[in-house]
Amino acid sequence: MDLSVEIAGIKFKNPVIAASGTFGFGEEFAGLIDLNQLGGIVCKTITKEPREGNPPPRIAETASGMLNSIGLQNPGYEVFVKEKLPFLRKYNANIIVSIAGKTVEEYGELAGILKSIEGISALEVNISCPNVKEGGLAFGTNPVLAAEITHGVKKNTNLPVIVKLTPNVTDIKVIAEAVEKAGADAISAINTLGAMSIDIYTGESRIANVFAGLSGPCIRPVAVKMVYQIYETVKIPVIGIGGISSWMDAVEFFRAGASAIQVGTANFVEPRTMPQIIAGLKRFMEEQKISDIKELIGSIKT
């Protein structure tokens, strides 16, 4: 039984990856699950300068999900490389570093800074951050900027470049196409859905920042649709993200066209979600007499 996949030249022993911002830098869960089991870990998005993040309350529970407006709190790339990466490297899982910038140029700069750092399997480019120059609209909503960022990162690194798309667009196929043309080696989708929630008694927004990102099982159908649309549009591999909390969800994403999946919010509720998914996939493949997980990729019947 073969659970391995190859994405942009990186070999994953299985297609299960921890999503950015949901798994810390690996130490927190080390006592509870065996990190060596995972196909990969995407660390919390790092930026050139440390970022404080937004004032609390940063999260709110919603029906079958949650809102978050963390604000990319991270210690900056220097602390990451010195203190966090060494721990992650001990494990037999692909370490994917998520990067973001305040400007298009900063993405490329950060990619360049990380160029000679060992132990990184790939970069994931977080283009869901607000472009302050353009009134706060995410870079990823603009195909031209998304392509520019992709190009800038590609130019400054030898690592495979995965671009993580935001769903808050009219047509994700346009963005997918643009980043593929600009040289992306793979696409991961989706990031969180723009949302908000109001406390009915106080009348205040439940999140201090007002606007937040929705994640969890409630967004899964949206994510499946978008993964499928991207898969039909590009030739590069697609990594599916969005409300995955069981092996069944994972299979759904493979059928939609995902070569691998990321698990995010589910880690908060059930830290063992990823090992459970790996075990569940093995059972499913045995029952269905599937010897290679790659047979499932894009296996939707149309």
Binding site: G21, T22, F23, G24, E28, F29, G31, L32, K44, E52, G53, P56, P57, R58, I59, A60, E61, T62, A63, S64, G65, M66, N68, I70, Q73, G216, T265, N267, F268, V269, E270, P271, R272
Partner: protein
Amino acid sequence: MLQEKGTIWSVKHVMDGVFKLTIVSPEIAIIAKPGQFVMVKCEDKHTFLRRAFCVSGIGIDSEKRWLNIIFKVIGPGTEWLSKLTIGDSIDILGPLGHGYELVKGKDRKILLVAGDIGVAPLISVAEELVKDKENMPEILILYGCQTLNHLCSRNIAGLFPETLQADSNFIITTEDGSFGHKGLVTVMMASLIHEREISQIYACGPNEMLRKVAIISQDDGIPCQVSLEERMACGTGVCNSCVVKVGDEYKKVCTDGPVFRAEEVNWSWI
């Protein structure tokens, strides 16, 4: 951090809308410290995230190892928990966070300042302090709430270890004077802190109360630790949701806290 399927040993309706669950959870109970907390999965369809509860009592006897949680019913999660019965399973993650750093010793005078449901972790502190009978410090429990009906009752002493159930260990205040002394618990604290020669304070309660506790303890130079609270998603330090300002920096209540030294906390920000 462990994940354990605990078993409900008992569900007690302690006072109006407040429940105490005793959960047999041997692996977590054996390592849990006062001031730490657990993340509990509520299997109600209107809930998604786990709920955080301070460990409010830890015990070991010949049959079992258990921990207690005390909570007010305020939403679907706590509602679901209050309806559990003996023998039910409950999925717990913990123990989490930094608990209170306890100082023991016969010559010490410890003050526990509890505001409303903030009494929960302090019960655990009291239990730990009375364990060593030879070195047991003097303990005074100052408990305050708004009115008699709000968690406030002549029964508060019953939640604490037997050795502490004498009237002399408790001072109770209600803001409206419906029971005990009238006024804020912090006013009472300020008035007795000198005469009682308090050497250490542990507090838990609403932020407004803790801010005043911090000021009073700092004015008098008495070491003080407070347990803070902020909305949590993971409780384990990976999501960066539950931040509070300590000095100029954001710290996580779940891993850097929930217990902080009172003078560290940025009260003007809170």
